[in-house]
Symmetry: C2
Amino acid sequence: MSDFARLGRELEAVWHREIPISAAMGIRVADYDGRRLVSRAELAPNVNVHGTAFAGSLYAIAALCGWGITWLTLRNRALDAHIVIASGHIDYHRPIAETIVAVCTLDPDVHREAFEKLAVSGKTRFPLVCRIGAGESSAATFNGDYAVRIIRASAND
Amino acid sequence: MSDFARLGRELEAVWHREIPISAAMGIRVADYDGRRLVSRAELAPNVNVHGTAFAGSLYAIAALCGWGITWLTLRNRALDAHIVIASGHIDYHRPIAETIVAVCTLDPDVHREAFEKLAVSGKTRFPLVCRIGAGESSAATFNGDYAVRIIRASAND
């Protein structure tokens, strides 16, 4: 198993152990390539009165995807951090009647200034975008602002 | 039991029956007075890695509170409607380490224009604010934009 796959498994275990509602939603790590996290959840536990995906589940899955890619990125740099979301916004473009897929990318080039701030002060913010929907056009678009504070370098640093 | 209390019970039953994740979150109707809906959920099923309320649960509880007050207001006018959230925004001001309380008001005076549009076209939008937190200062503030389309007058109309 690659390091990325191992970290992805570790993230999923943290979600299910420490955020019980993520287990109830059935949120899984589908793919992590070092830059991009894909998470997914079956429709059934997240259905709403219309038989499509519940808006609150879509937000929660997107918010966890953003939190997850931040956690993975920092772990990958051997940094343990306190990560909290300060604000979130979601636009729903169309209903989802299939498996929910969320994709979030944290690109070191795009977020260069945020990483520089982290290196200098041990604190930063990552504004992240998460797209929901398996097709070509997003079913929902999430924007989250994540506040990060380094606790310490990991044991494996 | 008052009509308001009966409608509140009915809303809670709809949530738990048709939105299974709302039952997993333990969302309950605490009070409805014809204008204002108070919903609540225990912390335990909604906890996060920090031992406080999960941001995704807070959003979901607030979004359901806004959906709920819209559903109740229309039912109270003997209208069955298709209610969907078009967009949502939430600002997290401080962590919550106690029972989650969400409050949303749909005031006919404040939303007079939206009701007039509904009467004319059978469609409207309600921009609603939901405050989260039991204390004097909100722990989070949610803004949701709800799109409403009347299906038919209820059987008891």
